[in-house]
Structure formats: structure tokens, C-alpha cells
Amino acid sequence: MKKQMLAVAAVVAVSGLALSGCSGSGAAGDEIVIGTSVPLTGPLGTMGTPVSQGYQAAVDEINAAGGVEFGGAKHKIKLVIQDNASDPAKAAAQAKDLVLTSKAVALLGPVTPPLSIPEAVVADQLKVPFLTSITPIRAFGGAAPEGWNYAWDVFFDELQMTQTQFQASDLIETNKKVVLFTDTEEDGVVMGKLWEENAPKFGYEIVARETFAVDNANFSSQVADAKAKGADIVIAQVIPPEAIGILKEMKAQGYDPKAIFMEKGGNTGNFVNITGGLGLGVMAANWFAEGMGLADEKKFIDAYAKTIGGINSDLGILVCGYSITYVLADAIKAAGGTDAAKLSEAIGKTNGDYAIGHIQFTEGHSAPLKVIQTQWDSNNNQVMVLDLQGKAATPIVTPEAGLK
């Protein structure tokens, strides 16, 4: 026991010493280090990969042009990307490590509230500017009742997003009866409530709300219930495997509603193939599509649609990541350097047009993006059916084609 104890003491002391020796690599010369901890593996890997591609694309472009200009010189950006494997605890730990060990002067965010919020908290603790996207702004704001200090978010407002399904449904003939499918994840709970509130305002009736545990597989009783209630419209806030499970069960039970909205689950690239064709005609909110009127639409579609598998939300996520990287670079320029307080203030003053649209922050440290509605077509692209003004774009194919 004495020997063991000595060994333990030695081990602890050595690790302490070893750590005090390596106080981080830091940046070479006047390079600006920006860190990001994103989910490249795990269930959120489908979204984390394109967002990091967007960061990298913007950084490469900025560096190719010489870097960010301030203080009379151009500074290159070094982007450090880490994989948090969709684990919130790991995301927070990596965000800390990126600042403390890699000496990142600012952080770009991951995707979705479960990962963005822990990283945002770290940023506020460490007083390091943090800029994220793909995180609905009410969820973001709700996590900090007293307000954020250094964390900023660019994404849609849940309230506006949960109206687009009804606006799109107005474009077709339905019986105005809606069934909701929501899981127990944070967004399922929040959006479900908003749809319940919004439906009567648009003259729709929620006839059933099916709630289930995350990663549910068997939807037979829920779909039977929805079919029995005769709803023409299905709105779901689910993850991709649940979306597939629901569609298969709908096909099996011969339930083919006029309109199906699958938020998040239906925002997966290659959705029509993944669902074996059942997803053809499924709609989902989007923040990037052809014909939306964004300045660089064509540039991104030409450059990335092929590698990313079509014009879809993954491409939208990439453009989001690309845009907030530019917001950060512009803020560094405006702040004349990387002083945390000044940089965070400069981010807050952002007011301009970016690839993803106009970005301007409001009180809650968030910049709302307006969403549109899109529908999956046979080329595995998401086609805009409801535009930014809430008006019809490409006509909606109804009833859902894949279930016929």
C-alpha cells in the first residue's frame, strides 16, 4: 500500500508538472487562431460536417486573399477543427481546450442547441467571442435567462418557422386538420407548442399530437391514430431515423396525406434515396434554395451541390457556416484586432448582406434568418415552394408523391 501510495503521488505530481510544461502551442507570428468543436461523428454528424466545410471554405478564401486586415497588416486565419462526436460534455470540454490550449481568440459554433448552448456557456465563462448557427434563436436565448455576453447566434426564429407550414398548406386544398409528430428532444417540445399556438391563428385544427421518445422505431399506433383522425396535413419535428420509420409505417397503412412536413429529419441530404423514394414530396423549412434571391446562390450551387449531394439543407448549413465565418472576419477587421470585448461588440454591430442573407443582431444576441419551405423532388433537391415573402413559388406536388 505504501508503494502504491507513493506511485499515486508520483503520478499525480508528474502529470501536474508535465502540464505546467506544455502551456499550449499558440499561433505562429501574427496568425489569428479560430477554434471550432463540431459534431463530425455521432448522430449530428450529418450537420456538423457541412458546417465545418463552410468554415473551412471561408477561411481558405480569406487566407487566399491575404488574410484579415487590421492594424495596417494582413493576418492569416488558422482554423482548428475538433470533433465532439455529438456529445455535449465533450463539446464544452473541447471549446475550453481550444481557447486555453490552442489559444483560439474566437470560436465558431457547432450545430443545434444541445451542442451550441454548452459551448456558448464556455465562451461566456472564458470571455471569448462565440458565433454559432443552425441553432434556433429562441432555444438559444432561453438558455441564458440573464442574457449572453460573448455568444452570438445566426439562425431562424422558431415562431416564424412554425408559421411556414401553415402558409404552405394554404397554397393547396386541405381539410385543415393537422397531426403533429414530435419527440422529446428540446426542439420537438418547443416547436410542438408553437404549432399548437399558431394553428388556430391560421385556421387550422390540431387533431392529434403524437409524442414519443427520441429514436423511436415503431410508429404503428401513432400513424393509425393520425389516419383515423383523417388529418390531411402531417407536421413532424423528428430525427432522420424517426422520419424514415414514420414514412414506412404510413406507406404500410396506406395513409397518404396532402402535405407532410418533416423538420430536421427531412433536412437530411439525399432524403429521397434514404427513404427509398417514400420521402419524395416531403416538405421542410429551409434557409437556402435556388431562386430565393440570394446574391451568391449560383456560386454555391455550382461549387458544392455536387459534392454535398444536391441543393438541400446540407448546402444551406454549409452556406451558414461560410457566412458566419465572414461575419467574424469582418468583425475582427472592424474591431481592429482580436481583443475579446471589442470583437464581441463588433459582432453585435454586424449589419450587412452575407451569402445566407441579411445579418443583423437583435437584443437577444441573435440574428434571425427568414425561412422558406421546400419540397423534395425526384432529383434529390429541395425545391422552394414558399418564398421569403410567404408567397407561392414552385407549385406544391400533392398528395405526397412517394407514398402513392
Binding site: M1, K2, L19, I81, Q82, A89, D97, L100, V121, E186
Partner: protein, 324 residues
Amino acid sequence: MIRQIFGFIAKFRDPFTYGTAVVVAAVLYLTASSLDRGQQNDLTSLFLLMTLALAWNLVGGYGGQFSLGHSIFVGVGSYATAVILTLLGWPLIPTMIIAAVMSALIGLLLAYPLLRLRGPYLAVGSLGMAVAAYGWMINWDFTKASQAYAMPKEAQVDFATMYQFATVLLLIAIVSIVALVRSPLGLRLVALRDNELGAASIGVKRVRTLLPVWALSGLLTGAMGAVYAVQQGTLTVDGTFNIQFSLDAAIICVIGGLGTLSGPFIGAIIIYFLRKYSAEYQNYALLIEAVVLVIVVRFFPAGIVGLISKGFRAIVHRRAAAQK
């Protein structure tokens, strides 16, 4: 039980062991200000990982009960801290102590039925409890269900203090575990693990031996959860009631050496630095970690401690042989 506790305290005799622990901890504690924030944060996370593994090792290593339910203790410790601070506004340290005690009570509550199970049944039974607890928390509005639970601003502490919390916690864990393992209770625990029938035949009672061990393990893991909550600043069910905590603890102990005192330390250092430095390989990081895990366990199934003691014995033997 009370008699056991007193018996336990009476065993605090050996000044050397405890002295070493206290001196090392005191040095670490007092040098807090000489470290930069990065080092303070690294050591805080490392010490928390060590505490988690030490506490698990008590049940999983010395007790031979492969628990996959320890995430419950992390969750209870962290959420209890957050809820008490928010609703009752107590000072931080008493809150963390109460949270740890609550976790110990949960430990007793879980252990009582679990102790009927053995081997893989216990592993799966405890895993079932952990998944059920997760399923409950994700729906419980009192703790904001699946939404983030923000710690109140008063609970924010700087990195140096955080590091000191973790150091003190690690010291408490070491001292209490050494004391328990060397007490008659500890001997009964190991006897029960190595030969249950034999132990029973000399009058060792299974439940009476294991309950206090689970309670201490729950207490320490809960305390770790409480400190972790303060470190995190905001809680989610996914980030606390996550079975990854049980898996991490088990892996650390297996890599280091199950049922040894230094095993959890060595394992924690390996895992912590492996994660820290493989992170830059992005989606290959997990692959690297898993491959290292498989290789280490494949070639050193008794853990690094087993390897060292084997090597040590080999040298001693060779010397003895040479002298002949």
C-alpha cells in the same frame, strides 16, 4: 452501519499514506495561482475524471460489480446542485455536500435491489436503471426536461477555485477509498469478490458489506457531479445522465488496472491526454481512441499496473536468479 463508520475512522492510523496524500494535495492546492488557466482547467478535468474512476473502481474493481449505472450519480449530483442553488439559494459548498449526500442515498436505493444480481445481470440491470433514469429526466418538467438548465450566476467560480475544488475532492476520494479498502470492510469486500461462497462460509454478509461501499461510491461520484456542474455552468440531461460516464470510468479502470489504487490514476491520464491530443484528427479521433483501447487491453489485460508489477517481479526474479 454506524459501528462500521466508527471502525473505519479508528483505522486512520498510518500517518505515512495519508500524509503523502495530504502533502501532495496541499502542494497542488497552494500552487494553483502559479498555473495558467489552461493548466488549471486541464488539471480540473483530469482530477474529476480520476475521482469518477476511483469511485467506480470501488464498486467495479474492488467489489467486482461491473456497474453501468454510475451516470445516475453524476446526474443526481449535478442536477441537485443546480436545483438547490436556483430554488433555495444556498451557498455553494454546502449545496455540493448535500448534493453528494443525495447521490449517496440514491446509491443505497439502487444498490439494495441491484445486489441481488451478479455478473452480467448486474451490468445490464444497472444499465437499465441508467437508461430509465435518463428517460425520466428527459421528460421531467421540474428540471426543464430536455431543455438546458442554467446554473445561477452566483455559482460561477474562476479557474483557480475550480481547480482547488477538484483537488480537494480528489484528496477526499483517495483518503476515503484507502481507508475503506484497508478496513475490515474492505477485506470482506475483496473476499466476497474473489470467492463468494468461501466468504459467506466465514460469515461475510453480502448485502451488509456492499451497501456502504455503494453508498461511498455514490457519494464520491455525486460530489464529482456537483463539481462538474459548477465547471459546466449549464446542464443538460444528455450531458449529465449520459452512460458515457459509466463507460469512461470502466474503461479507465480496465486500462489502468481494475481493483488497484493507482490503476484509475494511470488510466485517467492515458484517456485524458489521448482525447486531448487526438482531437485535432477530427473524425479519426474516436477511431484512434478505440484502437488504442483495444490494443492496450488485448496485450495488457491486467492493465498498465499489471504490466508494471509483472515487469517489476521479472526484474526481482532475474536478480535473485543472478545471485544464485
